[in-house]
Symmetry: D2
Subunit: 336 residues, 4 copies
């Protein structure tokens, strides 16, 4: 299975490296980036990638390439999905597909019509902890799902410049948790209510966003849920999920780099949490790429479909509207 | 310090027993209950209480008695507070004062005008775990409070007959968490939004209530919070609080009767949670009574004032309105 | 069931208080202490004990008294056991019975011949954590016992003056763990090997003792075990047991006063351990007295028999000999 | 830095794979195995190793090769160390160097005389948990080391045929813990006392070995320690270390593949432990190879020297002697 990677930024490089190390079924033939330079060329060489180019068309037009990884900037995702679909290539696309719902639908439809695989990069579904909770829920260990709680806090806020273009906390951060909520509940969200505050960085408030947010969720199956996000947790990444049901409760604890404990006169200190996202989710990035290879090679449905890419965007739109209007917003209001 | 207890039901007996065992500063002179019988008289004797009566006035009119514990049914709380205040007695009253806000205000005012102490029985403020979290927050260990999360789940739903008269989940169950939220935040709640479902017992739904609920909170200081309640957690009482702030996160873990762990081929099993509320909060009931004795004897403000009894009722009223109207409700709407 | 307490020192007072609060089946008629004074008389009154005396014979000769609690100094234990047995009274005696094996045997025999109950004060058998581990082992959850590990560390070393008369670390401290080892293994120890060092307090070394010790155990059933003791753990009482068997491993974690956790940039800090022995084993002291009442009233064997008092002394003697001679010592060498 | 690997069994392949994936500073030129076959050749190709051979001399005689990894059977280790040393190559050798002390000394001396690096494969020094404990100890967090405790239990006993040739539990299993004890204590062991039983597999007893063992350790600096081993823990790998000192206690908890917890009516179940050694110590194998590359390239002392390979063999010999003779054995008895 030959692949091309469009976009050689941070995430493109992570996937390239992971494929070269951990996904022997995949062979990267070409990596494209409009800002291709010597450094990136050296990186490509170190991963055993024979071709580098500034032109994504070199990948899209290459008949030898079976699948495309779209790791370029968000505004180009839907365009490349459509072009890759037309070229008959299977597609892995970083999240989100787009913030414009029409473009999202167009991209999903293009992939469907072309009969190619489409997987969206919601890597947290592949995290060892969250996956173990999911497995417990799927195996009926908690019975019927009643309450879902997700905490997701980052070590440091992003630059305000990023917040201005990212669409805000619901689009660039909580979108992962929206996906996780659907994933764990096995049911669609029908309504959200958002509350938020600017408690971390006044600059984020000036940019029109909040940095601390709580969103309650109603699911079609009657379950209810809540997600909390903060742009800054001084103790590092705090990523926990909890699924409470009729027969029990499955939850994970925050991940730490080791299990060492130091007991002194001041108490028992457990290790600090991860401070770097790439360390926290190392295994998840590998696993999602292995899953994509498996879906393409064995002709299975991808584990994160185009629709899975769509719904979190709907939820982000509804949460944003809810925050601004100070009232619960139904997903159907957004879809309409 | 001589006290009289009005009401010899379950909670009245718990306080009587605890005072006789753990609060040597207090001496119970009389216990009153309209259904006084031989069994209760024997109980009183075992606690060293010299007098039993069917008439609460025997307590209210006794000049030797310094303080009254009001442990009767909720509908009599405000009446007895007012009468005890007029009699110049310090007052410990079980929560809630009343569900009728006028009555609550009248009771609080009566105590104020009489210059007597009034403490409301929000015992969870005295729980060893929640108190330790509170102490961390109060001592500035988490910095400025940004997010408050409270989980409170009971082992079994109450009978539907109880739900019909209790005022519903927000009044009889979440009211403890409303108090805890204020206690931990050190700030008043200004707005709530409630979502709820009937997922445990359809009979509760038929009685017009929900058995699973999530309420988001906005605090005056900008912090946001969420409380989740379920009427039934198969693993027993699940009582956890979390306060996330600018400098860290304080949380407690659910309490278990012991720390034993069994590792077998199926995993490492930690002990079950408490299944009986009186076991779970044993120490808290003792501590609140010691605090009341301390407030009276040393002329300090009680640690749970009349206003502390009022605000959770306002929050319960707002949450109920929010659930019914499907929109966030400001506390000021209720107060008006 | 009427009881008399011989000895009104710290432990005598703890038992008196606990009985008055938690063991309604027992009524303390008399407490005796050669140094009886006003303070102790006031204490007795607060516990509802009608009689105080300087003469233990007032208890031993009182035909109304059913049981005697021997809480006097160790050198008087065997004498009082024998006298109480002759007087036909059931006996609870603090550990150890004596360090002189002949006296231990004489005391046990006296109780047997008189047909009275004898319970030794190894309170840790009643600790909530250790008991839960014991229950798991007894219920076969770990299968056949292969390895037993016990850690027992104190917050502060005792005064050197105490070490000089206590018999040393194996007699005054590890004796609890020797009992726990037999209790958990359900098998007798046949051989011990001791290693020790003076690492905490040079004065303890000058007094001829060690303050840090490891003793390996061989059990009759083939299991092996190890106990470690330190006179000083800066983080407080560290009391853990572990039973590893063919089907799993049961262990307890050290006890803390609460479950609160503070996560900051420095890591997640769990609460400090107990610093005061009476706080750590509060419940155990109550439970052992309830068990004694149950044994006497319902004519059951006591849960800690005279033999249970004998064996740990044999083990302490063997460990002391092993440490001095630098070789493993069989229990049969001591018994002979 | 060009390397050759002698021995393409399981551990040779693990190192080859890890180098190709995670140690870019190293380039494997040749892999040698007397049983070289098509499968191994394919494996070599997949790792980008250009040459395969049946003759280790192709590596030893290759002037381009800077370092040799000796992953062949134990009986050939010392021979290859000596030959590689004579050939001027830096050496990474799997543990143990040999069981014959003369051969061990000869190998160490050969490396010393040749001025080449020698690192022994005690991979557990590089484990994320044990390393974090080590760091705490090294940084003085526990003060002066008083007690060291190490638990090491395997999921399944090895075949009896292996036990017959491995030298027994002290040589093939506890040798890792002997190394860990020295590593953590920062002091040499002067005396050991071993107790052991056959509790897992009677066949191991028939082969003259034990399957359950406890060894107490005396260190030159006065600290004392204990190691327990069992050939079979039904719950999987149980690998824990604890260092107790004058200022605190550093310990790690057993590793689990994830942090998920399931609370049901039966208690809270944490995940099972690892069942496969390669999963448990994945990171450690990588880290030891990175450390070897670092030592060679930057001309540092290797983190596990030849002497570090020698001492655990001395301890295993002493423990074996102690078990057979039923007495403590000084390391100096073995060295002599």
């Amino acid at each position: 299975m030959k692949v091309g990677i469009i976009g050689a930024g941070r995430i493109g490089k992570v996937h390239a490296k992971n494929i070269s190390m951990f996904v022997p079924e995949m062979e990267i033939k070409t990596i494209a980036d409009p800002f291709m330079n010597e450094q990136t060329e050296a990186f490509a060489k170190s991963c055993g990638i024979p071709n580098t180019t500034k032109d994504a068309n070199d990948i899209l037009n290459d008949p030898e390439i079976d699948a495309v990884l779209i790791c370029s900037s968000t505004d180009t995702h839907s365009k490349y999905i459509i072009e890759a679909a037309h070229a008959g290539k299977n597609i892995f696309c970083e999240k989100p597909i787009d913030y414009d719902l029409e473009k999202v639908h167009a991209a999903i439809n293009a992939a469907k019509e072309a009969g190619v695989k489409l997987q969206i990069g919601f890597c947290r579904r592949f995290d060892h902890n969250h996956r173990a909770v999911y497995d417990m829920v799927r195996d009926g260990k908690v019975g019927k799902v009643n309450i879902i709680k997700i905490s997701s806090r980052d070590p440091e806020p992003p630059p305000v410049s990023y917040v201005k273009v990212s669409g805000g906390i619901f689009y660039d951060m909580m979108i992962h948790d929206f996906d996780m909520a659907r994933f764990l509940a096995g049911s669609e969200v029908t309504e959200v209510n958002a509350v938020g505050s600017v408690l971390v960085d006044p600059g984020i408030g000036e940019a029109g966003d909040v940095d601390t947010a709580l969103v309650t969720l109603k699911f079609a199956n009657g379950a209810i849920g809540v997600i909390d996000n903060s742009r800054k947790a001084v103790y590092g990444y705090d990523q926990r999920v909890e699924v409470f049901g009729s027969e029990g409760c499955a939850e994970d604890q925050n991940d730490t780099p080791n299990t060492a404990v130091l007991s002194t006169a001041d108490g028992a200190v457990h290790g600090v949490a991860y401070k770097v996202m790439w360390d926290r989710y190392t295994g998840a990035f590998v696993a999602e790429m292995q899953a994509f290879a498996d879906a393409v090679i064995n002709d299975k449905e991808t584990p994160v479909t185009g629709e899975d890419g769509l719904y979190p965007v709907l939820m982000a739109a509804a949460a944003t509207k809810s925050l601004h209007e100070g009232r619960p917003v139904k997903i159907s209001e957004i879809e309409a």
